[in-house]
Structure formats: C-alpha cells, structure tokens
C-alpha cells in the first residue's frame, strides 16, 4: 500500500491503495465517485471511460501508480449539473435505456468533440465503436454526438 495523490475533477485527492489498483476501483471503492462503471475489466466495453489529460482512457486497466500528475476527469466532473453539451444532447435525444454504459459513452463523445469539434460521421463512428451498449441505443448515440457538436458552435 502507498498513498497516491491524484488530481481528479480539479480537486487534489488521496488514496491509500496497492500500486496495481486500477483507477476504476480507486474511484469507486476509495473516493466514492461511482459514475464510472465496471463492465468487463479488460478495456473492451468502455463503461469505465474517463479523461486522462483530456483523452479518453479505460479506467479499469489503468494502474493508479501510472497516473502521476496527470489530470483525471470523471463523469461527475464533466460539468456542473449535467450542462456539458454532450450531456444535454444525451437528454434531448433521450439516449439512455438501462443507462449503465452511458457515462462511458458520454465521456468518449466529450473527448472526441474536445479534439474534433466538427467530426464527420465516420469520425463519430470510429470514436464510438469501441463502447458497447447492450440495450442497443447506438442510433441515438450517433444522433446525440452530432447534436452535441452542433451545440458547441
């Protein structure tokens, strides 16, 4: 066990954990940030997607000891009260069914739009393809990413 100082959602936080503990479990078990979900544990489903210095990464396979001074953003820190254009688009398009994968979908979409504010439909498909949605909300995910991009004008 060691103490890790982390920069999460603009706050300095600490966790006493083993060096190999994935960020996902530090967020959930130690820091009470429960919006980042466990789905597969092997970076195949995207439910645990967070931002590491603005890029979308899988928290389930990212050891806490590898984070260093990088800034982490989770769904809780994406905006105040769900006001990020991607979150607003998700509500407007009424994307969620069960909702379990959606935090990861939103974080993936937000990272895409931060880098590529006007993505082509191929860029949207390429970015969102790795995130699984078992309910099959894919059409609305596509639609919401486009809407969010328009909102960010």
């Amino acid at each position: 066990m060691a103490t890790y100082k982390l920069k999460i959602n603009g706050k300095a936080l600490e966790a006493d954990v083993d060096a190999d503990t994935p960020l996902l479990w530090v967020l959930r078990d130690n820091l009470g940030l429960l919006g980042t979900k466990f789905g597969c544990g092997i970076a195949q489903c995207g439910a645990c997607t967070v931002h590491l210095n603005g890029a979308a990464v899988r928290a389930c396979t990212l050891p806490v000891s590898a984070i260093g001074a990088a800034a982490i953003t989770t769904i809780e820190g994406l905006s105040e009260g769900g006001t990020h254009p991607v979150q607003q688009a998700w509500t407007e398009v009424d994307v969620p069914q069960c909702g379990y994968c959606q935090a990861g979908q939103i974080m993936t979409a937000a990272a895409l739009l931060a880098k590529t504010p006007k993505p082509t439909s191929k860029q949207i498909d390429d970015a969102m393809h790795p995130n699984l949605c078992r309910c099959g909300t894919y059409h609305r995910i596509r639609e919401a990413v486009t809407l969010a991009s328009n909102k960010m004008k």
Partner: protein, 720 residues
C-alpha cells in the same frame, strides 16, 4: 467511503410526511380483480397499515408523486407507468415525480420485469387511479365554487370554471379532495382525447444517468460493508474436491475465505484486493455429473432428432399421409448456440443478515422470488427481509433468477457482516443460466400447385423445456401438422433469455417459410398472406394469434419497405407474434464490392396504443439491434464443461458500426396496449438471413452467421 441508498423506503416515509395536508390515493395496480381505491390518511401509511400496492400523492404545492413498483431494466416502465396515470389525471407532466417503490409482497402482486407483461397488466388500473384523482379534485373545486362539476375542465394540473374565469391548481384543492369519498365508478377518457399518451416523453431518470449518479446495484456502498467475489466451478458437472485458501487469506485486505456449497468466497476490504486474492486460491474439482463439450451437443442433437420418441405438442390432420402424397418436400435444420445474457452491469447484490432481520439491496427482475427464496434458505419468515430495488443495468432475463441474491445472503449469514458480492464479466459469462442451445428440424410437403399440405417441426433443446411454440403461425393454416420436442438434460444451466425460445425459433420458422415459399415458386410475403387467409376461411385446430393483426403488420412492412419494387436491393421478410405484440420486418441488403451490406431494417409493429413514442421506438430499435447482433456474431461454446468465451475479447457483441438504419412504424388501431420489451427481437434474424440469401444465394441456417460454412469467403460488410 461514500454512502448511498436508493429511494424507496426513505422517500416513502418522507412523502407520507410532506403531504399531511394533501391528497394521498392508494390503489391496486396489480390485483386480479379490478380495483380498490381509497383516500389514505398519511399517518396510517407511515405505520404500514394500508393494503394498497401503489400510491398517488398530490402535495399542497402541486407536486404529484407516483410510486412505480416494477423493476426498471431499460424497458422504460418507470416513465410509461406514470404517463398513463398523468393522462387521466390531466396532470402537468413537468411536476410529476416518480419514485421506485421497495419490494412489498403484500402490496405488489406483479412486481417483476419479464414477459413484456407490465403494461397490458396495469393499463386499466393506472387509468382508473388517475381518473379517480381527477374526479375528486374536480368535485372539490365544484364544492368550493358552488357550481356543477360538469361545468369544470381540467388541464395541466389546473381546474377551470370558464364561465366565471376562475381556476385553481391541484395542490390548492388536494386537502379538500382528500375529504371526499371515492366514487363507485369513474369515467375514463375517450382514447381520442389522449394528450400525453402517444407523445414522446423522455426517460424520467435521464438526469441521474447523464451525471453519473449512483443508481445501480453496483453503486450501493455502505459504511463498514465488506466486498466479496466468489469462485464457482469453472466447469459445469464438477464439484469442489479440495480448497487451499492459505495464500489468498494471507493477502492484504482479505478478512475471510469461506467455502459453502460449491462456492469459495473471498471477502475483504476492497474490490481489487478481493479480485487479486481470489486468483491465489488453489481449488481442485472432481466430476459430479456429465462433463459436456459443444462437440457432444452437436452429436446429441443429430441423434435425438432421429429418435422415435418425442413429446407431442400439437397434431392436426395426418402428416404422414400428406408427406406420402407430396409433390415436393422441403426439409431443413437450424441450430443455435448457448448465449449468456451479458447485461452491462454484472451480477451483484448487497446482503446484511442480522439477528433481527435481513436487508437486501440490489438489481433484480423478481424481487418477490428473491425474498421468498432467501427466507427459505435462511429458515426465516419473508417479512423479516427487506428488499430494496435499485435500477438494473440491463437484465435480458438473467436477473429473473435469484441465485446471486441467495449467494450474497448466505455469505452474509456465514461471515455475520454486511457484504456486497460482485461478479466479474468472466463470472457472468461462465456462470450459466444461458439461453439454451437448440436444433430444429423442419419439413414441409407441397402439392403440385405449391400449396403447403403438411408441416412438421421437431425441436431438440438442452435444458430448453418445450423448445417449440406449437400454436405459432403457421399452425392453424396447414391441414396436416405435427410439432414435437425433445429435451436433453445437462449440468449446463439455462434460463429465460429475452424472448425465451422465440429468440431463435422465430429465426428458424421464418427462414424455413422463406425456403418453402421459394420451393412453391411464390413471393414470401404473398405466401404468408395466403396462409393467413386460409387460417381465416378454414382454420385448422386452435388459432392463438389474431390473423388480421398479423396481416396488418405484414402489409405495413411491405408498404413501408417498398417490398418487391426496390432495384439493386435484396430484401428479406419475416413476421412474428410473441408476447402479445405483432412485428413484421424487412431487411435491405446491398452488395458492395462483392460484400453483402445490411443497410436498413424496416419494422412494422402492432402493440396497440403506443404509450410513449420515444420509449417505444427505442425498444423496437434496441430489440432489432439485439436480435441482429446475436444472430450474426455471438457464440458460446463449451470444452470439458467450461465456457470457452468469458469476456468481450472472445465473445462478440454487436457494436455501433455494425448497426444498420432501423425504421420503425406503428399500427394505429386504438387497441389496449401490449408490451414491447421482447417482441421486436424474434423476427430480426430471419429478415436479415432471408435478405442475405437473396443477395448471395447462401442460406444461413445456424447462428452465429459469421461462423457458418455458407459464409466462408462472403465477408459481411460494415454499413459505411
């Protein structure tokens, strides 16, 4: 550590406390006889003395609260139930608040999610509750103003007397309404006057979901709670021989390693520590039953299909004679693999078994069953157990079983501590309760003019029970018919998987009918319509589907897809009646650079009145995506009793780029609504495979399509 508990009990008491001067109406959402309705004194409610299974409250400030008893699994019931109440109440939807109710078997008789049954079951009662509340509020206004109630109108939670230009909000009338008595009869709205039903209303939990609120079972944390993972036998048909837990026990954060039944539970202070320690377990297993592999099942299927004995499910006419005198016989076999449910939220449950009672919290489709089985297991009365329902991160039938609840309860009773048991994805995929693997043999006889004179279906399933649905179309439309099933019992556990049995049977039946239509030289749509006309004019035996409604969706799908008129497109057709709703689908396949690309699926749906256009459309799209994805890609095989695919790197689920456009069309017929959680899924596989056949000449008879011999060298293309 953060502490989070979901709504229910706490809010329940809170609400009964805040409306002391409002209106609280208790009603029975799910009793067999239609219903009791009563105005309730909130104090009695808090004391738990009221025998109602649902509640509608209106507070003095006009906030309307409706308790939704059914588990929310993504079928959107938590939005559509209150919509029905609010419609009859003429409520301002913006001020309607929905609360998930905790389990109370005294109050909720049909508190489960399964069988697409909630809406048809509750439709009338929900309407009556809303209409009664509206009646009381209107009467209260009439009394206050001294005018006849018939001169009043209601809209958006306001009662208006237009002659004198007076109006009052529901909140202002709630206390007076609560002093009135319930009418014996209440008039429901004419369906043409619906304002909210039939519109698109967004998921009431969207805000919580998009901001990452801890609403799922996996998100339940409690101060002092322990974490556990359980090592179950990797191979079905084996049991524990010996356990060496010394290394695991010595690892950091581990508080206990407990063996019970065939489980070895590793308990500790964090999920990751438990996960690591579990890998240090040394467990030996020994045989405890048949240890089967997929190769054994393939062989068994063929042997059993040829066996003389089978359970007869339906027999009309003389099928032997029909085949003897046939001009042509069509014969095909179809096979599907086992499938795990794979809800995105892996199984989990919290249990705290104390001396004085048991607390259970988590995601389940059947809270009632979970509680009763826990009571049986622990040898206590069910009323000593509270069960708090969280939102479910998908279910697909997996959470109809209580196994994972019982494990948590048993473990908590052994370690005498509050504990949350978490399954990994590998546990989930390897842990059973699968969609059963099935093989079907279909035979049809045709006379010289292409009429189907005989139809024979035999299903062989592994732990599938009756693998047929003997009264499904074309039963009733063929003079001579024989339907039989055979079951092979296996240690590999199976269970209901979204649209049980029909999730594959529909594919097989509708693919086979395509083959028969081809052999008869007829258009597949016309062939089905002709059969339905026959069933109407000269029915054979019992007919358990509505012929006109089935024809209705067939015609709608044909019209909307431009069936038979589209140049450069290969179209495949399929239609199915299941779970009380009718769905026809047409798949459009286009050849691009020598590859069949599934461009679009047109779905025509008759579920009666569409309660929520947004939720319903997505249910259909989601069902199509699910049906297509599993038909094309998903495969679970066994080697020496163990599942060979245990995570998403080996088990393929459909992803965004593989999803075609899906156009959804509803039949507008004003019939009382039926469910949509399942009916859109069964027809999809056949629409797709029939279209692929038209495009490539390759007939797919087994799933998943991508692994079939017929598709070797025929690469399915992405939509782009």
């Amino acid at each position: 550590m953060s502490t989070h508990t979901t709504t229910s009990r706490r809010n329940f008491l809170k609400i009964s406390g805040t409306i002391t001067s409002g209106l609280l109406l208790g009603f029975n959402m799910s009793e067999t006889e239609a219903g009791g309705l009563s105005i309730i004194d909130p104090e009695n409610l808090a004391a738990g003395e009221i025998p109602f299974n649902s509640y509608l409250s209106i507070s003095p400030d006009g906030l309307i609260t409706i308790f939704s008893p059914n588990p929310e699994v993504g079928q959107n019931i938590k939005t559509s139930f209150p919509m029905i109440v609010a419609e009859e109440l003429d409520a301002d939807w913006a001020r309607v608040h929905v609360v998930q109710a905790a389990l109370d078997t005294k109050k909720y008789e049909r508190q489960l999610t399964g069988g697409s049954g909630a809406i048809p079951h509750s439709w009338e009662r929900l309407r009556k509750a809303g209409a009664t509340a509206r009646y009381l509020l209107t009467e209260a206004a009439a009394k206050r103003w001294g005018v006849p109630a018939s001169s009043l109108t209601t809209e958006k939670s306001v009662v208006t007397h237009s002659e004198t230009n007076r109006s009052l909000g529901y909140g202002e009338l709630a206390a007076e309404a609560a002093a009135l008595s319930i009418p014996a009869e209440v008039k429901l709205k004419d369906k043409k006057d619906f304002k909210l039903i039939g519109t698109a209303v967004r998921n009431v939990d969207n805000q919580d979901i998009i901001t990452g609120k801890p609403i799922f079972g996996m998100d339940f944390y409690r101060e002092g709670m322990l974490f556990a993972m359980i090592q179950r036998p990797v191979a079905f048909g084996t049991k524990i021989k010996s356990v060496d837990a010394a290394a695991a026990k010595a690892m950091p954060g581990i508080t206990d390693v407990v063996t019970f039944k065939n489980n070895v539970a590793v308990v500790g202070k964090s999920t990751w520590q438990v996960n690591k320690a579990r890998k240090a377990l040394k467990i030996e297993y020994e045989p405890d039953g048949a240890i089967e592999s997929t190769a054994d099942h393939d062989r068994l299927f063929k042997e059993l299909l040829d066996k003389p004995e089978a359970t007869q499910r339906r027999k009309d006419g003389d099928v032997e004679a029909a085949f003897k005198s046939a001009a042509k016989v069509v014969r095909s076999e179809f096979q599907c693999p086992f499938l795990p449910h794979n809800p995105m939220e892996p199984m989990n449950f919290f249990a705290h078994v104390r001396e004085d009672g048991v607390e259970l919290v988590g995601p389940t489709q059947t809270p009632d069953l979970a509680r009763n089985e826990t009571a049986k297991l622990l040898g206590i009365a069910p009323d000593k157990i509270t069960l708090e329902l969280t939102r479910l991160g998908g279910g697909f039938g997996r959470r109809l079983k209580a196994d994972y609840v019982l494990e948590a309860a048993e473990l908590s009773s052994i370690i005498k501590a509050p504990v949350k048991v978490i399954w990994t994805r590998e546990d989930d995929m390897g842990g059973g309760s699968y969609r059963p693997a099935v093989r079907y043999r279909f035979e049809a006889s045709l006379d010289a003019s292409g009429n189907m004179t005989g139809y024979r279906l035999r299903g062989v399933g592994i732990n599938a029970g009756n693998s047929t649905r003997e009264d499904n179309f074309p039963s009733g439309a063929v003079d001579n018919l024989l339907i039989e099933s055979i079951e092979h019992k296996s240690p590999i556990t199976t269970g209901a998987w979204r649209a049980p049995i029909t999730n594959f049977l529909a594919f097989a039946e509708q693919s086979f009918l395509d083959e028969v239509a081809l052999a008869a030289g007829q258009d597949p749509v016309q062939f089905r319509l002709k059969l339905l006309d026959r069933a109407k004019t000269s029915p054979v035996g019992a007919i358990k589907y509505d012929i006109d409604r089935m024809k209705g969706v067939i015609q709608l799908a044909a019209d909307k897809s431009g069936w038979g008129t589209r140049k450069g497109l290969s179209q495949g057709f399929s239609v199915y009646f299941s779970h009380r709703s009718y769905v026809a689908q047409v798949a459009d396949v286009e050849m691009k650079q020598g590859k069949p690309v599934i461009q679009k699926i047109h779905a025509a749906v008759d579920c009666g009145i569409v309660v929520n256009q947004s939720g319903a459309r997505q249910q259909v799209r989601g069902g199509v995506v699910d049906g297509m994805g599993h038909a094309m890609f998903s495969n679970l095989t066994f080697k020496d009793g163990a599942a060979e695919q245990r995570n998403f790197n080996a088990f393929r689920l459909i992803r965004l780029k593989e999803v075609p456009e899906v156009d959804v069309h509803f039949v507008d017929n004003g019939i009382d609504p039926t469910g949509l959680g399942e009916p859109a899924l069964p027809p999809t596989g056949a629409a797709v495979s029939n279209a692929i056949f038209k495009a490539t000449g390759k007939r797919l008879r087994s799933q998943p399509f991508v692994l079939q011999e017929e598709l070797k060298g025929v690469k399915l293309g992405e939509r782009m």
